[in-house]
């Protein structure tokens, strides 16, 4: 605990610092590889869509003893062209026999219900049915995509107003990253995609952005008035912000993942399968990837965009010139500015201590050695 606390306080003050922004290339390559794998798998394997997307009927018969063949024969007798696929599902709440057929009319559905109830010797009302028209999944997807576009437009507007358009771009890049990787994981693992999965993916969007906004808010705070001081470049300030919010990001992810994990666990082991499991799985993957992207993707993208601004490029030059002038200059600058707010001061001391402790590259933040502190 003690070590952890000193790590967190070190992170805050910039004494312990992970170079997220400076090593952007590494993360980009890592993410690019993951994305390539995701897209490749998508191209080769595709996605396994649930019955909701192809259309069809699913009957669930809760029975401990009903044989799979019995159920298949009973269903096939009613709807010979129905091509019934029978599986069994074991959860702690009991065994279920699932019969899946092609799309059926209400009358046929009723007949199959009755046949299954008779064959498996359960009361008729215990049989659950779901019949999905062939176009339903398409419609859900279409609506989801419409929602996605509207959402993205709103987000870009909101972030542009609250923060700035470059942050909106950074957030969007992270967002697409998350969604693609999540979809890729579905493709790779062969998990079934159901409407609940679509819900999950849509929620990831919100969560991923939520996480990114918290980091960006800190970036915004750290970089306020950065040009007047020439103490650190935008990238450094952004990197410090990521480090300062790192503990929060981790805590948030843990706290977000815990309920989702319990949802996943209960969905998979108590019920066997279904909405809860599908939803939780997408969320679990999405939240994990979302946390990664808000740290490793969103902020580096933002920083790179910012550094292209003439003003920020000029600032970087000034800062570098100043640093090459020696550590006394850096210290002097620190002394000269006591009126800044608390965090800006700590930023300064962090940079100063780094400059004092060793001579490093232009980024001027302690790297590997710092991680080992204490």
């Amino acid at each position: 605990m003690n070590r952890f606390h000193s790590l967190t306080s070190g992170l805050y003050r910039g004494e312990v610092s992970f170079d997220f922004v400076g090593r952007a290339k590494q993360w980009y390559i890592l993410s690019a590889v993951m994305l390539l794998i995701a897209l490749g798998s998508l191209a080769v394997n595709g996605l396994k869509f649930g019955v909701e997307f192809s259309g069809g009927a699913v009957f669930s018969v809760p029975s401990e003893s009903c044989e799979i063949t019995t159920a298949r024969e009973a269903a096939a007798a009613e709807v010979p062209e129905g091509d019934p696929i029978v599986t069994e599902l074991n959860g702690s709440s009991g065994r279920q026999v699932k019969v899946q057929t092609v799309d059926l009319t209400p009358a046929e559905t009723g007949a199959v219900n009755q046949a299954l109830a008779d064959a498996c010797n359960v009361p008729l009302e215990d049989v659950s049915t779901q019949v999905i028209g062939p176009s339903w999944g398409e419609q859900i997807t279409q609506k989801a995509l419409t929602g996605l576009v509207v959402f993205l437009v709103l987000i870009v507007i909101y972030l542009s107003i609250m923060f700035e358009w470059r942050m909106a771009i950074g957030a969007l890049v992270a967002l697409f990253h998350d969604v693609f990787i999540t979809v890729g994981i579905y493709s790779l693992s062969g998990f079934e995609v159901t409407p609940a999965t679509v819900i999950g993916v849509l929620t990831i969007l919100g969560y991923s952005l939520y996480d990114t906004v918290v980091v960006f808010d800190k970036v915004k705070e750290n970089t306020r008035g950065i040009q007047t001081s020439s103490r650190m470049t935008y990238s450094e300030a952004a990197n410090l912000a990521v480090n300062q919010t790192l503990v929060r990001s981790i805590n948030t992810s843990v706290v977000g993942l815990l309920p989702v994990a319990s949802l996943l666990f209960v969905g998979a082991y108590v019920l066997g399968a279904g909405t809860l499991k599908d939803l939780a799985l997408a969320l679990f993957v999405g939240i994990a990837v979302g946390t990664y992207s808000s740290i490793f993707i969103a902020t580096p993208v933002l920083a790179q965009l910012k550094e292209r601004e003439p003003a920020m490029a000029a600032l970087a030059k000034r800062v570098n010139a100043r640093r090459s002038g020696g550590r006394d200059v850096a210290k002097g600058a620190g002394d000269g500015d006591g009126s800044g707010d608390g965090s800006a001061d700590s930023v300064m001391t962090g940079a100063g201590s780094a400059a004092g402790s060793a001579t490093r590259g232009p980024r001027n933040q302690p790297k590997r050695k710092a991680k080992k502190k204490r």
Binding site: T109, V150, T203, R248, N251, G256, L276
Partner: protein, 582 residues
């Protein structure tokens, strides 16, 4: 900004308490304390209908037409005698779908009926016969006293034919034009006069007397009519398949009478509006309807011809046909040239309103496709609910445990905030279920569980900020305030994103997604309320206790443990020296 505000925490908590009491009081007053559960949690059938413009109709899908369709479908479901069924529109405009929820086990026939197009038309009656081999119906007609609503109801159900109480249609007396002079007291009076005497004569009406409006009736149709047995459920919907431009046969709603009908004379779309009125003089319910200009013209012509026929002969009647079923077949008193008519016939209030709704909403330029229907058995629903609750409890417990380990005493603030947020969420779901009909589905439960994380995150953002400020060397009290100012902005910005996501999802999606989006949005709002009115004030109050202020190492805010700078008394000017890590 860093000055501790003394009066405010109490006030904020008071506001929260008032809200809590209001919600609790409301629930106690209404006597509800459980949320309304969706059918996937309690068992039942859900049918999702997707609209598309009807063939040959240029009508587009608008909110209004969907609302009308909801009314029609409700009427159908209720007409089928299904209690507690709910028909609701989800989404709006082009995105809208209609979701029908029926608890318990449902007849497949009902499901099939749901998606049908509503087609309303006025057809002249060419012949009418009691559905059954005409049993004499002395009892209803003999006991019938004009104006007695009870009797009317009985006779309508028991009697062969129309039970001797033929509804009548005449010009609307409330209209200034029309021929008011002749029947000053409206159709109510008129309907009574022929009733007792002519009823028997209607019943045995024989082969179709050719009427002025009758088109040639093909012999096969005549044959079909003769053999039609409306008491047989399977045959009752026989009228569905006939095109508007051709003669048809049909049964009435109760299967009591069968009709041979001419082509549609006035389409239902020509009805402008219709409503049920209480007739002052006779205390009877009537239905008045207004036609549009097309309808006025054709209806005027046809009624002029019909009025010439003797009362209560088929030629005097026209049938209001909805979806191939005769809803009502009133006789025509007189020509109705003004486009405003009134149907009377000793209706109950319910009957007259039903008829008015049929007339108003009957012709709908939409067809519906059953996109999804699912029947969840009560057992499975119960299992799902339990699984949801277990998952929620487990998730909450894990989060609480994590917070306790990490934030120590400060976690108590977070945990109590979570509990408060949970209580508010529960109460909101109950209240919204009662007032807006919000039902908690499995996806909604999942939304609530996911929200635990988002809510807890607000506390984490705040606590981390406080800790940052303490590390800066600020005193605890000033750290709480300055940390709050910054955390507040972050929390609001981040929650706003969640809210946008929830609203967009809710507006643009269907089915389970909506339930999920709703609970997500709801909990986000509650999160804001709780953070502002509970967490922050509570932290402020706690900071006055010695335990926290002294920086106990169990408080979670101990400057030492947080590695604060050595000059805590000087928050304004934190030390410039770097703390040398040994």
């Amino acid at each position: 900004m860093a000055t501790p505000t003394s009066g405010r925490p109490g006030r904020a908590l008071l506001v929260l308490l008032v809200i809590a009491i209001a919600m609790g009081g409301w629930m106690a007053w209404k006597g509800v304390n459980t949320p309304k559960l969706g059918l996937d949690l309690q068992g039942g059938t859900t049918v999702t209908l997707v609209p598309s413009p009807a063939e040959g109709e240029k009508g587009t899908i608008t909110d209004e037409s969907i609302d009308e369709a909801v009314n029609i479908i409700s009427a159908r479901v209720n007409g089928a005698g299904v209690a507690e069924a709910e028909v609701a529109k989800q989404g709006s405009g082009q995105n809208a779908v209609i979701v029908v929820s029926v608890p318990g086990v449902t007849e497949d026939a009902l499901v099939e009926q749901l998606g049908q197009t509503a087609r309303l038309g006025f057809r002249p009656v060419l012949a009418a016969q009691p559905a059954v081999a005409p049993t004499p119906v002395p009892s209803p007609s003999s006991t019938d006293k004009p104006g007695s609503k009870k009797d009317n109801k009985n006779s309508g159900q028991q009697g062969g034919g129309n039970g001797g109480l033929l509804p009548r249609i005449g010009p609307d007396v409330s209209s200034a034009n029309a021929v008011t002079g002749k029947n000053d007291k409206g159709g109510g009076n008129q309907s009574q006069s022929p009733t007792p005497t002519t009823a028997p004569s209607v019943a045995p009406a024989p082969a179709p007397a050719p009427t002025p409006t009758a088109a040639a009736v093909p012999p096969e149709l005549q044959q079909q009519f003769n053999t039609l047995d409306c008491t047989d459920q399977a045959q009752q919907n026989v009228g569905t398949d006939f095109p508007d431009k051709e003669p048809a046969i049909a049964c009435d709603r109760n299967g009591n009478e069968k009709f041979l009908l001419g082509p549609v004379a006035v389409p239902g779309s020509d009805v402008d509006t219709a409503q049920a009125n209480l007739q002052q003089n006779t205390a009877g319910w009537v239905v008045s309807l207004d036609f549009n200009s097309d309808g006025t013209k054709t209806f005027g012509q046809i009624t002029a011809e019909m009025a010439l026929q003797p009362p209560d002969t088929p030629g005097n009647r026209f049938a209001i046909v909805l979806d191939g079923v005769v809803v009502s077949a009133p006789g025509v008193n007189e020509a109705i040239p003004g486009g405003q008519a009134q149907i009377s016939g000793q209706f109950t209030q319910q009957e007259s309103q039903d008829l008015a709704n049929v007339l108003k909403f009957g012709a709908l330029p939409l067809t519906f496709e059953i996109a999804e229907r699912s029947t969840i058995s009560p057992t499975l629903g119960d299992d799902q609910l339990q699984a949801g609750l277990i998952a929620g409890a487990l998730g909450l417990a894990l989060v609480v445990l994590y917070l306790l380990v990490y934030y120590r005493a400060l976690a108590l603030v977070a945990v109590s905030s979570l509990i408060i947020a949970g209580a508010f969420t529960y109460a909101s779901v109950v209240i919204l279920g009662e007032t807006l009909g919000f039902t908690l589905t499995l996806a909604g439960v999942a939304g609530l569980i996911v929200a635990i994380g988002i809510t807890a995150d607000s506390f984490i953002v705040y606590f981390e900020r406080i800790r940052d400020e303490v590390r800066e060397g600020r005193s605890l009290r000033s750290a709480l305030e300055s940390g709050w100012v910054r955390a507040r902005r972050t929390i609001v910005a981040a929650d706003f994103i969640s809210l946008i996501a929830a609203v967009v999802l809710w507006v643009l999606s269907v089915g389970g997604v909506r339930g999920f989006a709703f609970t997500l949005g709801l909990t986000t709002v509650i999160d804001l309320i709780v953070v502002f009115l509970f967490t922050k004030p509570l932290v402020t109050l706690l900071a006055r206790t010695k335990f926290f202020n002294s920086g106990s190492k169990w408080s979670g805010l101990s400057p030492e443990r947080l590695g604060a700078k050595p000059k805590p008394e000087n928050p304004k000017r934190p030390s410039r020296q770097t703390v040398k890590e040994a």
